[in-house]
């Protein structure tokens, strides 16, 4: 029951209705877990490889953090628009940037339920 089943990014994009801004060719990557945070050093220290990073931080610096920590993707919440330079950098580094209309709370809750298997992927 607590065993996590890997779900790939494209499945999360579909189920959470995320907009794919960069990294459309990298959505086959499995998501192992996630981390929510807007402070870069917090994410540097506490995220893990393969995590989905949920944030409202849109500054280009987020791309280096995701890339250095081998995170699976960045999800920007609350309909935040990334700075144009963030998208240019993300495309160059191959980091998927996904947009959610919903809050960090809602996105994290859904992703958590999906990857821990609390919710069946029937849809």
């Amino acid at each position: 029951m607590t065993e996590t089943s890997p779900i790939d990014l494209s499945t999360l994009v579909r189920l959470l209705q995320l907009q794919v801004r960069t990294g459309a060719d990298r959505l086959d990557r499995p998501v192992r877990g996630g981390y929510v945070g807007d402070l870069l050093s917090d994410v540097m220290g506490n995220s893990h490889e393969g995590d989905l990073w949920i944030t409202r931080q849109v500054h280009p610096n987020i791309v280096a953090v995701a890339s250095l920590k081998d995170l699976a993707a960045i999800v920007l919440v609350n309909g935040s628009e990334p700075a144009p330079e963030t998208l240019t950098k993300a495309e160059a580094e191959g980091i998927p940037v996904l947009l959610a209309e919903e809050s960090a709370f809602a996105v994290a809750g859904k992703v958590y339920a999906l990857i821990t298997g609390a919710v069946q992927i029937a849809t």
């Binding site: 050093s41 917090d42 220290g45 610096n61 081998d70």
Partner: protein, 145 residues
Amino acid sequence: MADEPLIYENQFNVQGGNFNDAGKVASHIKAILKGFGIPSEAVRKTALVAYESEINIVSYARKGVIHLRLARDQVVIETIDEGLGIADIELAMQEGYSTATDKIREMGFGAGMGLANIRNFSDIFQISSEPGKGTSLKMIIKWRP
């Protein structure tokens, strides 16, 4: 380290205040280690310590140098900067303590966790500083070859 033959050695300049390029040296170092086939856990740890020290130089120093020395089973990152220096190192190491300006905080920095991250992700960590002159760090990360 003294007896351990070096596989690779390089050094990188970091310009204080240049946030556009912040993180470039860490990315470069990560790519070099990956190229040598270093285990990915050690690569990520090294990338983290390089990144946090690079950002601190950009944030709090006029300029600095990051040295990279790679051996078969460990990597040494040493940084030397000319800048504000740190008057109370024990305080600066505390998680949550930060003197970051509003401008720096707007970019996502200023959690006061950088130095604590560096300590947590290094196998050996040394810091020394002279207020008004500059700060030096030495980090060693080891792995089983």
